[in-house]
């Protein structure tokens, strides 16, 4: 076989591949691409690993949910402050970022079914004797801006709220002695206070979780189609025990 024939056949084959492959997703509609915003500063739910990849419970879980429902997801690291505004502006299709389902948020956005239950918990320096948020009266406590943790501190009389862009900065500020406590979701609190070696010696978790919250995936108001897809996937993932597996993997 001479060379030019090989090339010609290759070109024809390539053209055929392109011609047959291209319309496929359009016909099936199944390989729907969904862009997902996540604030990857909330370990172990979502964080950036050493290879600059966004990893965590939410990432694995949503990927599994998407697989069950037949769509694919691409994650986009987005600052928490403004993550909802970006959704409203149509910069991405949904948010998967440890978002607690609240009435205020429900007024503005639509949620999937809840996929995990968590609660707020208080982390303090080892030297602190107070065991509740109320016991920090006259002091300052920190939380990430616009989170349910921040709202809990705000509700507590006599405790001044200090808000941070990232929860890690709140812990660093507590290490520097500028605040007396940090309130955040229990899994994240456990990650910082029990696992991080630079904080393990300095901080302790006090009391039990003092709120009952559920995370949900957030979509733009009225996007019922995506909510249906998500709920279908959440149900299927639960039936297969995927969330239990991931809980073991990420939350110990």
């Amino acid at each position: 076989m001479n060379r030019s024939r090989v090339v010609a056949i290759a070109i024809v084959l390539a053209a055929l591949c392109v011609a047959t492959a291209a319309p496929d997703p359009a016909i099936a509609g199944a390989a729907r691409q969904v862009t997902v915003a996540t604030d990857a500063t909330w370990p172990p739910m979502e964080m950036v690993d050493a290879n600059k990849k966004i990893v965590g419970f939410d990432v694995d879980y949503l990927t599994a949910v998407a697989k069950e429902s037949g769509f694919t997801v691409t994650f986009k690291n987005t600052a928490w402050d403004g993550i909802f505004a970006g959704l409203a502006a149509g910069r991405y299709d949904m948010i998967a970022s440890s978002v607690t389902i609240t009435d205020e948020r429900r007024k503005q956005y639509d949620f999937s079914d809840p996929y995990i239950n968590v609660g707020q918990i208080l982390v303090v320096p080892k030297t602190e004797t107070g065991k509740t948020l109320a016991a920090l009266k006259g002091k300052r406590a920190g939380a990430q801006i616009g989170t349910t943790g921040a709202m809990e501190i705000k509700k507590t009389d006599g405790v001044e709220l200090k808000t941070y862009d990232e929860i890690g900065l709140a812990f660093e500020d507590m290490a520097a002695g500028r605040i007396a406590g940090v309130v955040c979701d229990e899994p994240t609190a456990a990650h910082y206070a029990l696992q991080r070696k630079e904080y393990k010696e300095k901080f302790k978790i006090v009391g039990e979780t003092f709120t009952q919250e559920s995370y949900g995936f957030v979509v733009k108001k009225g996007n019922a189609e995506l909510v249906d897809l998500l709920n279908k996937g959440i149900k299927a993932a639960k039936a297969k025990g995927i969330d239990e597996q991931l809980r073991k993997k990420w939350l110990r």
């Binding site: 928490w80 402050d81 403004g82 909802f84 505004a85 409203a88 205020e104 948020r105 503005q108 920190g142 801006i145 616009g146 921040a150 709202m151 200090k162 808000t163 941070y164 862009d165 900065l169 709140a170 660093e172 500020d173 290490a175 520097a176 002695g177 500028r178």
Partner: protein
């Protein structure tokens, strides 16, 4: 040489802060439109749509106070730091000169936002300083370097003859500096320092990243809970505008009073 000495020189600083000169009629009118327009806009929004605009206005005032505190604290500290840096840059002593020059070079080469993060968290590791003071120090360390360059240029702009004359009258170098050169230089450096003040006022919004509850932080806190991003940032921007315009006008008037020479006039 001689006729150049007749008029005290002017330093041009091009960082964009506009200080209206009475002689610049166009800018003066624009100032009026912007200033009263911004106030009218805020008032109109607060009255016609009290929710959320009036709520925003009642939420942010303590933030404005923090913005002022940071700005004023930082500018005072930066002036002191800048004066010594400027003198150090002119010093013949190689150690003093080297330290001052290194400071200027390092600071000018690092973005302000990075410096603020660095100083705040680095200080936190070493000493326990409350957040607002850390923010003031971070801003002052940065602006001190720029102030230093302004002071150096200001002192250098005073003709050599002044120093020579003072020395020949029997003054020491220090005496000549503090009694003859610096008083003249102050007049020269006033306009660029006014510019730096306005620039610092605006840059003080960067400390909101440190969880210092300044005007921008308060706005962000409000927006992130009420989801009224557009409305909140509209109000925050207008408040900043009113404040900076007010101060630029004030500085402009002050300069007229002190009789700063202007090339334009």
């Amino acid at each position: 040489m001689a006729d150049k000495a007749q008029r005290s020189p002017v330093i041009e600083v091009g960082d964009g802060a506009a200080i209206p000169r009475l002689s610049d009629v166009g800018l003066f009118t624009a100032w009026r439109v912007a200033f009263f327009g911004a106030i009218a806009a805020v008032a109109y929004l607060a009255v016609t749509r009290p929710d959320p605009y009036f709520r925003i206005l009642t939420f942010v005032p303590d933030g404005i106070l923090v913005t002022f505190k940071v700005t004023v604290g930082a500018i005072l500290l930066a002036l002191v730091l800048g004066l010594f840096t400027g003198l150090g840059r002119l010093a013949k002593n190689p150690v003093i000169n080297g330290v001052a020059s290194l400071y200027v070079e390092v600071i000018r080469g690092i973005p302000l936002l990075v410096q603020i993060f660095y100083i705040y968290y680095a200080l936190g590791r070493i000493v326990h300083i409350p957040d607002i003071y850390s923010a003031v120090i971070a801003m002052a360390v940065c602006y001190g370097a720029y102030m230093g360059e302004i002071f150096r240029a200001g002192i250098q702009s005073i003709p050599k003859g002044q120093m020579e004359a003072a020395r020949s009258l029997g003054m020491t170098h220090t005496q000549a500096m503090s009694h003859i050169i610096i008083p003249q230089a102050v007049k020269v450096v006033l306009p660029p320092i006014g510019n730096e003040f306005i620039a610092l006022l605006k840059d003080s919004s960067l400390v909101s990243i440190l969880a210092v509850s300044d005007l921008l932080r308060r706005g962000r806190e409000f927006a992130s809970e009420s989801f009224t991003y557009f409305e909140t940032y509209t109000v925050v921007a207008l408040i900043y505008l009113v404040i900076t315009l007010f101060f630029s006008k004030l500085i402009g008037l002050m300069e007229e009073r002190v009789g700063v020479d202007k090339r334009a006039s």
